[in-house]
């Protein structure tokens, strides 16, 4: 077939290295991204475990790392945030599932530029290795938090991890930017140009829309982060003064003059806020897909869902200032950023109502992917509702440096996005590996994680309102925090249990990949194109039969159809259903 030769210029590889290591196949690359993110999430989670242990047992002598010093705590905090944001929340939903599923869902044999796709993964891998290397150099990992605020991040002598460790950190972020830009380029071109015949934009599954919009956000945001990172590296190593004013560090006057740390904040958050949506949008797509599939109903308001995602992406570029209310910005600027931020509530509410509308009177099938999709909606609402609080400067100023913000962004950006990843994993593992995951273990995993994450992050809001500052390593030294220690202990214990529950997930995943029951081609009775092909899909995805699309993506419960769902490539709905 001409098409498969054209886009899929590379034949199915034979050797192990070409097939599984330097593969050009988007499916293998997607799986590589997925396992990279799985590795990263365990590293990030162990860092948070160490922090939670330290907070309630500050004198504990831990194996390998011993007694945690305040600067070590800041290193753990920095690396936890960075690894989770970049190598989990950006990598798994977009690089992993987007790479694997997007070409199949639009009926393409591969990504538009397979070599670039491979380069994108391996560049991400190098970025991860460079990031992890920061742990092992003199001085250890940096202390400046995942947001890397100068002057701390811009002066080599400002702390133990701010020497080579911080240089590695910035270099890793810069490499990651390059990788993300390559990925975004591929996603956008593929979506625009490689759709099968009949796959008009408004017939694309909402997952494809979400990956597409995420790619656009990445394309526009990562270039700016790269520029900010280059300036930071220059300030650190070439003596320039972009971010550094006249500054005295450890009694020594530095040679910098006239720069502004706020310049970094502007550039960083111009990237940083869209990054939040880069993490959560794919989760929204997955939730929409799964809620429709497992409610056996068309998604409520397909077009509204698309426009809401576009609106969220568009507004996401205009609200970066709401991270900077504490910076002493002009109140009028703060007012503008505040209003624009609250505007995001409108498309978010549209999405939430449409998800609930999809569930309403549906024939709901509570399989584990569906549980995680519903969990996503729950966490999206719980985490999202504290957004309008923080969007108001008058409320943000007292709450900003407290645990309230920690609770807010973990619920929405951390856990909700992770639930999107879990939902996608339970949903697509049968297609990716050809075997079903264990349903009982999946349900146990869901309930422990769902209750556990609420138990961790909900009380943090109360800690914040009680004035508990974030990023502090020692709680026992401060008298007014003593009353809050029991709540911190509760959070830590909840965290230990929730982390333990993730062991169940990993065991289930690996056991299922190798020993799970064989999956049929369409185990969930879903309609999108990935379920029309073999399980797992062949090298060119459709075995030479390029699909032709006749239907929208969510045709469930169609009157007159033989089954309660119509596949996207079904030529026509039978007017006389079989009885």
């Amino acid at each position: 077939m001409a098409t498969s030769e054209v886009v899929h210029a590379h034949a199915a590889p034979q050797g192990f290295i070409r097939k599984y290591i330097f593969s050009l196949d988007h499916k293998i690359i997607g799986i590589q991204y997925f396992f990279l993110a799985l590795t990263a999430v365990w590293v990030g989670m162990i860092l948070s475990l160490l922090m939670r242990i330290h907070l309630i047992w500050p004198d504990a002598n831990l194996p390998l790392i011993g007694h945690i010093q305040p600067e070590t705590y800041l290193s753990l905090l920095t690396m936890h945030g960075t690894i989770m944001v970049f190598f989990v929340l950006t990598t798994a939903p977009q690089g992993g599932f987007g790479n694997y599923i997007l070409p199949i869902q639009i009926g393409a044999p591969d990504m538009a530029f397979p070599v670039l796709n491979m380069l994108s993964f391996w560049t991400t891998f190098v970025a991860f290795v460079v990031m992890i290397a920061a742990f092992f150099v003199t001085g250890g990992a940096p202390l400046h938090g995942w947001t890397g605020y100068p002057p701390l991040s811009a002066v080599q002598s400002s702390g133990p991890g701010e020497g080579l460790g911080a240089d590695l950190w910035i270099t890793s972020i810069a490499i990651f930017c390059a990788a993300s830009l390559m990925g975004a380029l591929n996603f956008i071109t593929t979506t625009l140009d490689l759709r099968a015949k009949g796959m008009s934009l408004m017939r694309m599954p909402l997952t494809v829309w979400s990956w597409f919009i995420t790619a656009i956000l990445g394309l526009l945001a990562f270039g700016v982060l790269l520029s900010a990172g280059i300036l930071l590296l220059m300030d650190r190593n070439l003596g320039t003064s972009f971010y550094l004013p006249l500054i005295v560090v450890n009694g020594q006057v530095m040679g910098h003059r006239g720069g502004s740390p706020l310049l970094w904040q502007h550039l960083f958050w111009f990237f940083g806020h869209p990054e939040v949506y880069i993490a959560i949008l794919p989760g929204m797509g997955v939730a929409s897909q799964l809620l429709s599939t497992f409610s056996r109903k068309p998604i409520f308001g397909y077009r509204a869902m698309v426009y809401a995602m576009l609106a969220i992406g568009f507004l996401g570029f205009m609200v970066w200032g709401h991270h900077m209310f504490m910076s002493g910005m002009n109140p009028w600027s703060a007012f503008a950023f505040s209003i624009l931020t609250m505007c995001i509530g409108v498309p978010s509410a549209i999405k939430t109502f449409n998800w609930l509308g999809t569930l309403w009177r549906g024939n709901v099938r509570l399989y584990s992917p569906m549980l995680f999709a519903i969990g996503f909606v729950s966490l999206f609402v719980s985490g999202g509702l504290s957004g309008p609080f923080l969007a108001q400067p008058t409320l943000d100023i007292p709450l900003h440096d407290t645990y309230f913000v920690v609770g807010h962004f973990h619920l929405i950006m951390g856990v909700a996005a992770i639930f999107g990843i879990f939902a996608a994993t339970y949903y697509w593992v049968p297609k990716m590996f050809g075997r079903m995951m264990n349903e009982s273990l999946g349900k146990i995993h869901f309930w422990l994680t769902f209750v556990g994450t609420y138990a961790i992050f909900m009380p943090m809001h109360y800690l914040g309102m009680a004035g508990h500052p974030r990023r502090y390593s020692q709680l026992t030294e401060l008298g007014y925090l003593h009353n809050l220690l029991p709540l911190q202990r509760f959070i830590s214990i909840a965290a230990f249990i929730t982390i333990g529950a993730q062991v169940i997930f990993v065991l289930n995943l690996f056991w299922s990949i190798f020993r799970g029951p064989k999956a049929s081609d369409n185990p969930w009775e879903a309609t999108t194109l990935e379920w029309t092909t073999a399980t797992p899909p062949p090298h060119d995805n459709f075995g030479g039969n390029t699909p032709v699309v006749h239907n929208g993506p969510y045709e469930y419960g169609v009157p007159g159809a033989a089954r309660d769902f119509v596949m996207q490539n079904d030529p026509a709905v039978s007017p006389h259903p079989a009885h």
């Binding site: 008009s200 070439l238 502004s260 310049l263 419960g557």
Partner: protein, 247 residues
């Protein structure tokens, strides 16, 4: 086999999206074409150009980041220890404009030569079916090596920029001395790195001729490299103007 629950109220699907012939608009374009053995050449060219435009958007964002940082930094006051006052510390860099003008001219000429190379390969492409007829000759086959000329001009530009760097070093206009200097080095350096990437792309395009790649592939590589090169010239003019008015 799933059944509908009796109380499930379902909206009838919109006829626009269901059944019938697939529309010819939107996606699904390239896949049905190209059954004539030409390996869907038009689709590949379109995809490559689209990829380039998307990739250049990222470069644009990088330079938007630099420019906005420059404009913000330019307006910032600096604290003076001696007088305990704030003052502007931005002292415009003295650039060797004559040398920069020569470099600019070289780059603009190279943009012209790459355009001629691009048109040349398009013409070859169009004539390829005629040429393949046995016994048909198109006359003199020798062509001016526009691609090679562009590579030489591009390398010439890079050497010229290096000379600008040398002049600045000799004048002790070091990168950390003043924010104007810092931004000038930053813009010139980042542009030079991107242009060097363009030179490598052009060399690869030239290599496709020696490697005897099919003419379609050669045209795609030259076309995309040419548009990238034009963008580099455009980007340079942008930097030129920025340095002229805001350095």
């Amino acid at each position: 086999m799933a059944t509908l629950s009796p109380n499930l109220a379902v909206r009838p699907p919109r006829t626009r999206d269901t059944g019938g012939d697939p529309p010819s608009y939107g996606g699904g374009n390239g896949n049905e074409r190209g059954g004539n053995g030409s390996s869907d050449y038009g689709g590949r060219l379109r995809r490559a150009r689209l990829g380039l435009v998307v990739g250049l958007t990222a470069v644009v964002m990088l330079f938007i980041g630099f420019t906005s940082a420059m404009l913000v930094r330019r307006g910032l006051p600096s604290f003076d220890q001696q007088t305990n006052t704030y003052s502007r510390d931005w002292i415009p860099i003295q650039l060797p404009w004559a040398l920069i003008a020569i470099n600019t001219a070289v780059l603009l000429v190279s943009s012209l030569t790459i355009e001629l190379a691009r048109r040349d390969i398009s013409r070859q492409m169009a004539l390829a079916p005629v040429q393949s007829i046995p016994g048909v000759s198109l006359g003199d086959e020798r062509r001016f090596p526009w691609l090679g000329t562009t590579v030489i001009l591009g390398l010439g530009f890079l050497v010229g920029q290096f000379l600008v760097y040398r002049v600045l070093q000799q004048q002790h206009a070091f990168i950390s001395r003043n924010p104007s200097n810092s931004f000038t080095y930053l813009l010139l350096g980042t542009h030079a790195i991107h242009l060097a990437g363009g030179v490598i792309a052009l060399m690869y395009a030239a290599a496709t001729t020696w490697l005897q790649r099919p003419i379609e592939s050669r045209r795609i590589v030259i076309d995309v490299a040419a548009w990238y090169w034009h963008f580099m010239a455009f980007l340079w003019m942008y930097i030129f103007v920025i340095l002229l008015i805001a350095r």
